[in-house]
Amino acid sequence: MNNVGLAFYILSLCFYFSAAVIFLIDLTASEKQLLPIARILLIIGFITLTLLMIGRSVVYRYIPLYTFHETLLFFAWVATIVLLVLERAYHFRAIYYFATPLLFGFLFFAFFFTPASVDLWPELRSIWLFAHILTVIVAYGTFAVAFVVSGMYLLVDNHLKKKNFSSLISKLPSLDILDYYNYKLVSVGFFLLTISIFLGAMWAQHVWGALWRWEHKEIWSGITWIIYAAYLHTRLMSGWQGRKVAMLNTLGFATVLFNYVIVRFFLTGGLHQFY
């Protein structure tokens, strides 16, 4: 499996990288129409990544969500699905330009972590834990795409403020639409993050008898939840829109990354030491 798995991983990387580069060329070169080609490359990369994860599931006999390497692959996989759904439901193709390089970045980041399988401790073999990890990674993937949309919002806003109506801006949706997509994505991510926190608490209660143990990972999940709750409250109740909420969303994603990477490697310990 190791060599075959590595081959599929490298293939996925290559397809995502090519797609990212061609999307960026399409974005900056107004006369070229390369988006359909880049999109096909991205879909092939996505299929390769799907096969890689199916292969890992079959060989290792668990859904590959338990090591850091596996969660990064799944993160990129989920975020790609979010992009495809956005295109299908809202014809939001411009998201590919900025999101694909980020997804490639996540896939590439996985290279630095061992792809070896993990022997699951008995207490880790729980449907609650599986559902907890699944929902949190889907939430993070959704937040990642929301972060990209916020970046796009800030980019368009800056260009418009400077009265710079370049071809780049013409390829991106209006500020209102970007703001709306941002809200939709954050609300889906927030919904899933909430479910994930509850599932994690129920699992911990079931296995260790404590719903909440004040661990770093739990605290940072709570902080992330609070920041996105503040985003939604300010947007829905105080009428905040546009630039201010886009920046708040960026802060929210910074906490997601902090929790996902920094807490994992620098504040390890407790029950979350594996993820």
Partner: protein
Amino acid sequence: MAQETPGLPEQQSTQASPIKQILNFLSSMQLGIILLLLLAVISVFATTQEMNTAISSIYTSWWFVGIMAFTALNLLLCTIERIGPLTRQAFQPKREMTADGIKKMQINRVIKVKSPGDEPLASVQQIFKSNGLQTTVQETSEGITLFGERGKFGYFGSIVTHLSLLLILLGAMYGALTGYETRNGGMSGDNFFVTQGNWRADIGEVRMVFEKDPTVRPRVYSDVTITRNGKVIKEGTVSINDPLRFEGTSIYHSTFLWISQVNITDPATGTVEELKFFEGDRYFLQDKGVQFESLAFFPDFTMAAGGRPTSKSYNPNRPVLAYRITINGQQEPWDLLELNEPATLETPNGPVEITLTGFENAAVYSIAKNLGRPILFIGAVLMVIGLYMSFFLFPRRFWATFDAKTSSLVVGGRGYRNRLGVEQIMERIESEIRNREGE
């Protein structure tokens, strides 16, 4: 006689009583956001501290609990304040609307129609229904208004979410006040008493079941009998993911420990002491002036690179105990004791023989009583429902009437916090009307 000078009408209407002002402040969203962000900032700081220090000096401090209490109060007042207006908004919509009123809406369309009168409105009614709207027809002196709405329960999403948060806080407080958390355990034949619950646990057999892969932590099953005043109240087996529950109390298997059985023999007298050691246990041999310390037990001993003892697996293929002795306060280098292979220690008062004769396991339990759990569970389910209502049941309302002056259909729509969503539906409705008109 001086006349009382009344204030200006504006002043009279805006000056609220001090109590009202305080209530307004306590129920304000600004305060809620500030408190939430304050909790976030404190938590960020707390994660820079050692976990146990943070728990004792921050998370359980009066001021942190106070901020949480204020947050709960803010949520409660905010919820109470909003229930009335939201109920009216949800269940008492304005169903009649004139053409001019509809045209004033942010989202509206004026569509010329060929046939005047009720026929186009009947067509719009069908279109409303096909878009999932519940429709009613209102007849007034000014004409007929078609009203369609969907997702009215979405108005209550924030209320349900706030209530669920309150329930979660309440459940956590009730659980903390009425429950307890402790750790205990032992090996086969041991017992322990839990004073908080006034019950005793007797540990029966402790058995280990190995996984196919011996490097994976094995499952440990332990039989436990719970008694109070000599009367059995619960019996059962405790294992990972399968706690023993009674009276709102749960006994969870937390981990297991190795126990080494060691015989210490004095060759001079032939006396044998049979002892059991947990890792880290010490035993002082009074007459020899020597302290024996059990350092670590390795069920499948091997020597790793750098001369570090380790275990290849959990299978007891080669049980070895690492130990150290201290003579007159002077620590000797650590040494290893293999199963049934005696080692002789030279002490100032003569030799002593030590033998690892066997080993067994002890189960460690987390014991928790949390009566707030059902409340927390209901709160969690309610929160998921509340968030679903908030984000995915978006209330939308549409009105349509026939404007005889211009022979046009006037259609308008309003949404609750989702203008673009209403705009999308309006585009669909408009396109369907134009299709039917043959445009």
